[in-house]
Amino acid sequence: MVSKRMRVAANVKRGPYATLTLQGEVIPSHPGQFYMLRGEWGISPLLGRPISILGEDLARSEIRFLVKAVGEGSRLLHALKPGETVQATGPLGNHFPLSGWDPQSPVVLVGGGVGVPPMAYLARRLSENGAGVIFCQGARTKEDLLLLDEIQETGVTPHIATDDGSAGEKGLVTGLLERELEYQPGAVFACGPEAMLRAVARLCRGKVPCYVSLEAAMGCGYGVCLSCVTRVKEAGKVVNQRVCKEGPVFEAEALPWL
């Protein structure tokens, strides 16, 4: 990891979503890792915001992110203009496993909301590695579906569920997962709202290895402030682990509170 000022090469908006491309020295990353991003916006908000890597182009020295404007910090990231600079620290955290299951079995990726970008990156990397990937995306309505083109580009067909049935199946993304679980996937990877992660973890429990990516309020993002801890089972005990360092990806079975 390094911390440096990177240049905004592009920032393409669709409603509250912005696909942000930063240019500068790029350190190779893995899906699930993230950056702390902070524009030059004075003292408020004080901290950078953790944003997952959506993709990288080492040849062009570019990293891509997808940011949803929800509060003050993400709104300011959403509003960045080409040519502006961003303090970018990363790549940070651990990442999703890229092997370790029966290579004959496909894996299921479950993404919701701003949990979709890291899963899109993971889908690309797994496809490149020759793994079979099933991508399930849940959203409230058709308008909230993310990165469908990007996912299809990687050769993966997104399976879709929307709350209102405006695209794909009507219902929760866990409905899609339940069906896939009948075919015994090699592993399940999930990123999205806590309720979704909990449902995914319960469906997988005892059946198939499940990894989830967590969110937490972060101070530093690189392991020094201890603000992002979560309770994790380790060697029979429950201990604090840092979401920014030992995470953000955890085995679902290790999270007693999920």
Partner: protein
């Protein structure tokens, strides 16, 4: 022009006045990924206690205007594990390492100081006295001058290493606790720790951090800390290390002009891990620009304001602390 950036804090010589503040750089190893730690004056470890601590439940952090509230609850791996796992790696770093520590009784403090005494790579001990005293119903050690004296004297006996006492600002008169620490045998005073604060999420109608109150740090507290440093540096003879909201070279210079012999950078590391080096560079340039050959000449060099229409015989000063002739 070459600027001498080295400063003395008591008997300790720092390469330069810029240190990392406790709790904001972990056990320093993580910072080493961003820059060479030996470029800095020194660094303070996350507060250690015997046996370690799990700290408080999350959420432990929230932002406020220009500031940050934390309620980590002093989670740490414990002195024993630190000495076993981390210290061997840190011995290679050529910079002043200060071990921040705490306890919940005078005995625990003294025992912690003694345990840290043996490790050669520890250059000084920094005693965090913002902790509650379990024997007096949880009132923080640092708020009672008598307790400050007692706990300082007990640790003074327990260690031969330079002993820095880190003052809490949550007192009516910080010069009283400062003098108590000096009388108890402190070699330097770290000034200051965080300010008790609270924030509420109005949409959720819930306290933003689990413990309701936590400690405020960051730019918001800088003017409070500058005053504390100034008052303390006038009240004691031992050196003062300035801490509180330092994010730029100008902030660091401001603390030195107020009376600090060295400074520590805390919260600023979170948004910009390279801040300490940028601060150091800016301080050197400032010295060149203003003709200072020695950065130590900045210490306490702030002057009173002079302007024709403000030094007229005007009213009595009813607030503020300037001593007028």
């Amino acid at each position: 022009m070459a600027v001498n950036l080295a400063v003395k804090v008591g008997t300790l010589l720092l390469k330069n006045p810029v240190m990392l503040a406790s709790g904001c750089c972990g056990y320093a190893l993580e910072m080493g990924e961003f820059f060479d730690l030996s470029l800095l004056g020194g660094y303070c470890l996350k507060g250690l206690c015997a046996g370690g601590s799990e700290g408080n439940p999350p959420p432990r952090l929230c932002e406020t205007p220009g500031g940050l509230i934390n309620s980590i609850g002093l989670q740490n791996i414990g002195i024993e594990e630190f000495l076993r796992e981390k210290a061997p790696k840190l011995r290679r770093v050529n910079s002043v390492m200060v071990a921040n520590f705490y306890g919940h009784s005078v005995e625990e403090y003294a025992a912690a100081a003694e345990k840290l005494q043996a490790e050669p790579c520890i250059a000084a001990l920094e005693m965090n006295i913002s902790c509650p005293n379990v024997k007096t119903g949880g009132i923080a050690f640092g708020t009672d001058p008598k307790l400050v004296h007692e706990v300082t004297a007990a640790c003074r006996k327990a260690t031969r290493k330079p002993l820095w006492v880190k003052l809490t600002p949550n007192v009516t008169d910080i010069t009283e606790t400062a003098r108590a620490a000096e009388a108890g045998g402190a070699d330097a005073l770290s000034c200051i720790n965080t300010y008790p604060a609270m924030a509420i999420d109005v949409e959720k109608r819930a306290f933003k951090i689990n413990t309701r109150s936590g400690g405020l740090s960051g730019p918001a507290i800088k003017p409070l800390a500058v005053r504390a440093v100034h008052l303390v540096s006038k009240a004691v003879k031992i050196p003062v290390v300035g801490i509180g909201g330092i994010s730029t070279w100008a902030d660091a210079v401001e603390f030195m002009l107020a009376g600090a012999a060295a400074v520590q950078v805390g919260t600023a590391l979170f948004s910009n891990p390279n801040a300490p080096l940028e601060i150091l560079k800016g301080m050197e340039e400032y010295c060149i620009r203003h003709g200072f050959k020695d950065v130590a000449d900045l210490v306490g060099a702030a002057r009173d304001f002079e302007r024709p229409d403000c030094n007229l015989p005007s009213a009595v000063i009813v607030t503020g602390e300037k001593v007028r002739k």
